[in-house]
Amino acid sequence: MKSIVLYTEKIEKRFGGVIALREGTIEVRSGEVLALVGSNGSGKSTLTKVTTGVLSSDGGTIFYHDEPVTYTNPMAAQRAGIMAVYQELSLIPSLTVAQNIWLANEPKTKFGSIDEKTMNEKTAKLLTLFTGTFQSSFHPEAYVRDLPPDERQIVEILKAYSRKPDVLILDEATASLDSKQVSCLFDLVQLLKSENKGLVFVSHRMDEIFRIADRAVILRNGKTVGEVVLSESNEDEVVNMMVGSTVSLTRALSSGIDFTDKESVLTVENVANERLSGVSFDIKQGELVGIGGLRGQGQSTLLHTLFGNNRYTGKITLFDETLTFDHPKDAMDHGVALIPGDRATEGLLLLRSIFENLHLPNWAKYSRPFLKVKSAYSDAEGVSQQLNLVMESLDSPVSSLSGGNAQKVVIGKWLLRNPQLLLLDDPTKGVDVGTKSEFYKLLGKLQQSGTTILFHSSDEQELLDLCERVLVMQDGKVKADLSGDQLTESNLVFHSMGATNNNNHYEESTHA
């Protein structure tokens, strides 16, 4: 048996009244990848943060190389050799890629000053680990503020790797990466494994867990509920341990409605701006249309443009009315709602209460003649029940919620407006299986009640499960409009990759 590098014994952590972690027990062995799985709010992130000294624990013991240790800050843990790639990025936007990677670990000249040249060279070398998966504007001296999320994530990974840790924790490190980038990361993980490092892999993507990890520890409600050797297990078993019961991922499929005769709700003609170059499509009343493609191909920009956040040239027609949205308020007044992907910065006031967040866009409704707080409160209660929100009370701050529940608040605040057109920007990123399936049900309900939905997701399976029609974007254009028999995984991938002619590989994969 391989030696144990890190052992956390019954770690506890409370945030105010909420217990985030009650018995976090994991065993990390050298030369092995341990997957840490669990629904959102099960305490995975908390456990990794306690282990790396970002949070202090309220109980339990950490053994590192068989010695009990207490790290009161990340610096101490890093010196000891425990590093993490965090879910919420730990990068400084105003510094360059190289400066971020080597922050607090800078190479020095013999005069003691920072050796920028060596630093940039070393960074360029590190970047070769991900060669071919990023844009040419991504180089050691580029500023992090100018990078898209996937490239930031790569910086984050390389930053942790460059410190040569004994234990490396990857907390949702693949969430923003495309499949090629994930492959590069896994090569890196294999390399570290062969160097006898201990690795912890936190992910919601089941296929990745089975691809890269050797063992899995399952957390539920802040408690370690089991451990499996993955080669002797299967996805169903792991999912069942996670949720405690069997959950069906797929929505009661297909509304079976023929949309060809329906009225157009949204017509987009040749819309272009900085990230979009001539987008045209048409959506019918009550349709649920997916937007797919590789990450960062203009999907988010398209949604934000429809919501009045970006300027554009071209023509957008909504309910037979040509629109010139200059501001999100214009879009809101026309019954358009946008649920953003980055919930922390675009969707929520983290310190304010759940109630306030839910009603942020809705106060006008309750304002005549005086503010009707009571009826607003009962509406908020209704929505929180509809969403199955797990919370202390409506008055607790949003920051006390787990990631999945916080995302529900973002959705809830727009539901209160009864939107006609709902724009969703990768809303299930980093959301656990249980929340996802609830969310899918909710979308189904909305669609049945006549809401038209435009849904961007970076998860291909999700698009296939949910949508009857998917627009595949590449380089700011709609590359393909897939529906019916055309809508297959291979077609989706094929168009995402930007292939233009039907080569053999494509033929094989579609007709296989």
């Binding site: 970002v54 800050n73 990068l91 105003s94 510094l95 922050l103 800078e106």
Partner: protein, 333 residues
């Protein structure tokens, strides 16, 4: 990515702006300096320029020193509204105690007392803001009243008399024709450049850029923040010493104008108010620009409220500048 089509100068200019945000302050520095010299009647006469430089730099030195301190605090993501009051206290202590040249030992000790006061005052600011995590604006605004109250307590009405021997050292010392005040400024820049290239500089920008991220990366965020206030206090005490040598007397409100000037100077010098971007050299430029504006207004014999007006307009203009430019270009974020 190097842009091959652009000329070297264009690239240098871009680098100056993107890396050091110095472009605008450089333009303002040149503009105000040229305007100031044009307005001088005897500019063509030999020796005028040297004389003007000497007298100007010794006048500007206190403000430039507090501006450098302020710039470092702002770079680290804070704000120091008490630096002017620290200058007042230092000025009052010196004016009260340094009255003869008979006891050089005691005089030296008092200079050290002033410096120690600056350090302790900065440490207190840092403790409350960084260690206890309270709002810098509120804490340093409150502490500014404590310090200026102390100054008023020590010296209720203007007074004190610094021996001429000392003031003339400050006024007329030159090394190789370079006035003392300018040497101090160059020295300050050199010391900064030394630290800029080291851990301290990198950590400072990291903390100002995103303190949470810096913390998870292993940067000692609290200590970095405290240190910026201590440095600001230290520079304020040095400003107090130079101000006292310049005026030769004590005034309990001597530093009052310097707080706003230090913020204006930092902003003019391209320091981002949200922290993490800018350069200390810019702060020096900012201090000089303010000095030029002051001189231009007095040369034109305008009322002194013009100075306040122009300073205020400049702050608004510089802070709103990037947004206005984007608005004109028709861009939206």
């Amino acid at each position: 990515m190097p842009e091959r089509n652009k000329s070297k100068i264009a690239q240098w200019w871009r680098n100056l702006n993107v890396r050091h945000s110095l472009g605008l302050s450089l333009i303002l520095l040149v503009l105000t300096t040229v305007l100031y010299f044009i307005l001088q009647p005897n500019i063509a006469r030999s020796g005028t320029i040297t004389r003007l430089l000497t007298s100007n730099f010794r006048t500007w030195l206190p403000v430039i020193l507090v501006t450098i301190g302020q710039a470092i605090v702002i770079l680290g993501g804070g704000l120091d509204l008490s630096n002017g009051s620290i200058v007042s206290v230092g000025n009052v202590i010196l004016a009260l105690t340094v009255t003869t040249t008979d006891e050089p030992g005691k005089n030296m000790l008092m200079v050290l007392v002033v410096i120690a006061f600056g350090l302790v005052a900065g440490l207190l600011n840092g403790f409350f803001t960084a260690y206890l995590g309270l709002q810098p604006v509120i804490i340093t605004f409150a502490s500014s009243f404590v310090y200026s109250g102390l100054a008023l307590l020590l010296l209720p009405s203007p007074g004190g008399d610094i021996p001429r021997e000392y003031t003339s050292v400050y006024r007329s010392t030159q090394v190789l024709g370079i006035p003392l005040a300018l040497i101090v400024i160059v020295l300050a820049i050199l010391i900064w450049s030394f630290f800029r290239q080291r851990k301290y500089g990198r950590f400072l920008f990291a903390v100002g850029g995103n303190d949470k991220a810096a913390y998870t990366t292993g940067v000692p965020v609290t200590w970095m923040k405290i240190s910026t206030y201590v440095i600001s206090g230290l520079l304020a005490s040095l400003a107090a010493i130079s101000y006292t040598l310049l005026t030769g007397s004590g005034l309990s409100s001597s530093g009052n104008d310097m707080t706003l000037a230090s913020i204006t100077g930092s902003v003019l010098g391209g320091i981002s108010m949200s922290g993490g971007a800018g350069s200390v050299i810019g702060a020096v430029f900012g201090g000089i620009i303010l000095g030029n504006i002051r001189n231009i207004i007095s040369t034109l014999k305008l009322d002194s409220w013009w100075r306040t007006l122009v300073n205020a307009l400049l702050i608004v203009l510089v802070l709103a500048g990037p947004g206005l430019i984007n608005l004109i270009r028709g861009k939206k974020k």
